[in-house]
Structures are given as structure tokens and as C-alpha cells.
Symmetry: C2
Subunit: 242 residues, 2 copies
């Protein structure tokens, strides 16, 4: 039975980390968000699913993966599940946990990328918090992006199996998440990311290596891959990328 | 060999979620933070450990658990590890993942509790962002706290094994994390939390049930348990709790 992915229509968002794992696995899945044209049109179905009173494991937020009777929320938990099932994580328990630790840290980076444009929270529009966003983003851009990407560079440099992938000698979901996070930053903060990647060649090379994986390449060239936009987690506001 | 816990001196912070699991497990551990009197005094040792060039799995941030040669960062990853080793998580893989999903969502709540007093980020002092904190906290207090705690109430109400614990019929690390998150909110936002808990009796009862676990009770009464303060993740600023 095909997986079902529940997420907001119209943005790559956190759902994209799940899509990349499903695509790399060659797994059959139904992306429920594609049944609708706009976020507004898709929201009632997503919210009704998450609020279903029959769910013993109700998710707090999207994305949500449904695998038959198993319903999983939290992007990193979904990837932990898919990693085991589709050889996207090492079997060794310590390496498996290390892969998850990297994923959780990338999730923190994604959270900070969101907060950069919404420091006062999701209940205010961006135009209502532009000045606060500018103040918050200065540090995110100049310190946090270099620190997160620099940490990933260190991991690659120290990988005993070589710098081709983050963990061991094979692709894991953490590599896919690195790719997506870097793509998001390249969209949102192109100037800052170019400065950072010039100093982190191993991360830059891994981003390219993931883009060239046959299934990822086919996915990116398909109409299933959605462009970043200013409704999503990663947003390009030129005034925030100086 | 005893575990070693590396964390900031002087605050319960995210390290406390790990301490509670270690205490409930009755595990031998050395809390490195206790070798020092102040955060400033402890910081060099913590930072030198995390920056160690010999670490194949360098952590991005504290807390960090060291178990012999295994070094683990990210609170939720540490709890995943301890849960398996000390019967603080179910053996069934779907229930084990569900426990972790709850933990990840509590971690999101903890992150939002931090951002409430530091919406512009950690590079500004609170007194430099008091107005922004007030604006952000209004929504956190009125909507996000009730939504997170209400979600935990729903989980308890739907647990097929009964509402005594979050997952199945036995205590897991997710219950300990619920306890700590509720304690933190009770310190930081006593007025709002009282309003919320009045509507979520199962969460209120679980908080009490955890406090009465013999090992947790002994820990709370010991000098190892640290009080919350305004250097930590949960902070009480009366102007933010109206």
C-alpha cells in the first residue's frame, strides 16, 4: 500500500524533507497536498485529517506520514521511520542515532530560518514585523548560518569513511536534509550562502552530489518538485540578505 | 562506567530533561556542570569538550551525554538512547517512535518557551527586546500553551491503556519531559498555566504522578535538583504573564 503524505498545499516546507526521502527510496506515495491548488483550498482536508478523533496517535502539526494504520508526525520522526525501512540510515545503532542527531540539528537550522522572517511568531504577517526580522536576521545570517554549515563541514571532514556523505560511506536521509536546507538557504539568503559555501567546500560538493543522484535529479526535473516561495519556511526577502 | 553529562552550569535548561531520565533510571552519572559554581566558570570546560578535535561525532550544542566512546548531542536523541537502555520507552517499534514523536513536540514547546523571552535571538539581552517579547508572548501564552497542553491532554484521553501515562501503561521518558515542561511553564507563566491546567486535568494529574515517583521525588528533594532562574530556557518575567 502506498504511503500517504499530508502537508500544506503550495509550499515545499518541512514536507519536502519527507518527499526527498520517499523519492530517493523509490517508494510509492500519494501526496495529498497535490489534490488542491492553493493552501487555502487544501487546508480543510489536512486539518480534518489531523483532528480526526479516531487517531490514537494524533499529530500536533504537519507533515504527517500515513503508512496503513501507522500515523507519524514530526519530520525527524518520519525520517527515522523511513530511514530504517528504505536503507536511508545505517543499521549500526550508534551510527543510526548519529544520523538522527544530525537530522535534529538540521531541523533546528530550519526552525531558525523560519524565525528569521517571523521573530514575533506566526500570528503576525511579515510586513508587521519587518524591522524585528531585520534585527533577528543579522545574527542568523552572519553567525548562525556559518555555524550550522561549518558544523556540517566538520562532520564531513571527520567522517572516517571519507567526506562523500555525512555518515559512513553511503547516502542517508541526513544527506538529503542537508541538500534541502542548503537549497532553502540558497533561495532565501543567496548572498550569505555564497559567502559561507566558499569556505565549506565539502558541504558545497555534497549538495551537488545529492542533486546528481538519479532519482533526486529526476524528481527535481519533474513537476512534483515545488519552487520555494514567500509563503514557506524559507523565504527570500532581499532586505534580509545583505 | 558512569555516564557523563555535559551542560551549562547554573540552569536546569535542556539538560534537566536528561537528568530526569538518568534519575528515574537510577543510572550512575557524573554531572560535569556541578564541578563549577557559575555558568561563566563552567563554560570553558563545556566548550572545550564540544570543540574536541578528536570527536568523530561532534555535538552542535549542549546537553551532551558521553557513554564511554559514544558521544550524543540533541536532548531528544539522548532520550531515545536512554529510553532503550533503561526501559524508559516501549520495545514495540511503533510505540517507541510515538514516544519519540511526543518528545520532539515537547521539545518544540520548550523552544517556543525560550523564544517567548528572546524573539530577536540570543545575541540580544532580554532588556533589549522586552517590547518584542511582550508581543510574541501574548500569542504563546494565549494560544500556543493551551494548544500544546491540550494536545497532551488528548493523547492521555485516547491512550488505549488508560490516562495514567502518555504511552501504554508504563512510564516513559515522554512523561518525564511532560513533567519538566509543565514545571517550567508553571515557573515562567504561573497565571496562564493555572488557567490551562484547570481545563486539562489529565495533564495536571500526570504532572503530580511523576512528582510522586520515588526516584523523582528523592531527586527533587536533593540538592542535585536546580531551581529555575532567569538565565535559563524557562524564565519568569512577571510582565509576560498577565
Amino acid at each position: 500500500m502506498a504511503y500517504e503524505l499530508y502537508y500544506w498545499t503550495g509550499i515545499p516546507g518541512r514536507g519536502e524533507f519527507v518527499r526527498l526521502a520517499l523519492e530517493q527510496a523509490g517508494a510509492a506515495y500519494v501526496d495529498i497536498s497535490r489534490n488542491f491548488k492553493t493552501m487555502r483550498e487544501g487546508a480543510p482536508t489536512l486539518m480534518a485529517f489531523m483532528a480526526g478523533e479516531n487517531l490514537v496517535h494524533p499529530p500536533f502539526a504537519a507533515p504527517v506520514l500515513k503508512d496503513g494504520d501507522v500515523v507519524i508526525g514530526q519530520t525527524s520522526a518520519i525520517l527515522l521511520y523511513l530511514g530504517d525501512r528504505h536503507c536511508l540510515a545505517p543499521a549500526d545503532p550508534v551510527e543510526r542515532l548519529w544520523t538522527h542527531q544530525i537530522q535534529l540539528t538540521i531541523a533546528d537550522l530550519v526552525g531558525e530560518a523560519h524565525d528569521a522572517h517571523h521573530p514575533l511568531g506566526g500570528n503576525f504577517w511579515y510586513h508587521e514585523q519587518k524591522d524585528e526580522a531585520r534585527r533577528r536576521t543579522e545574527h542568523f545570517r552572519g553567525h548562525r548560518i556559518p555555524r550550522f554549515i561549518g558544523w556540517l563541514e566538520t562532520i564531513l571532514a571527520r567522517n572516517p569513511a571519507g567526506p562523500e556523505f555525512l555518515v559512513g560511506g553511503a547516502l542517508t536521509y541526513a544527506d538529503l536534509s542537508l541538500f534541502q536546507a542548503v537549497e532553502g538557504l540558497a533561495y532565501a539568503f543567496p548572498k550569505q550562502l555564497a559567502r559561507t559555501l566558499a569556505k565549506t567546500p565539502l558541504v558545497a560538493a555534497l549538495r551537488q552530489r545529492i542533486a546528481e543522484q538519479p532519482r533526486i535529479k529526476a524528481y527535481i526535473e519533474s513537476d512534483r518538485r515545488q519552487a520555494f516561495n514567500t509563503d514557506g519556511v524559507f523565504r527570500h526577502y532581499p532586505e534580509l540578505d545583505v
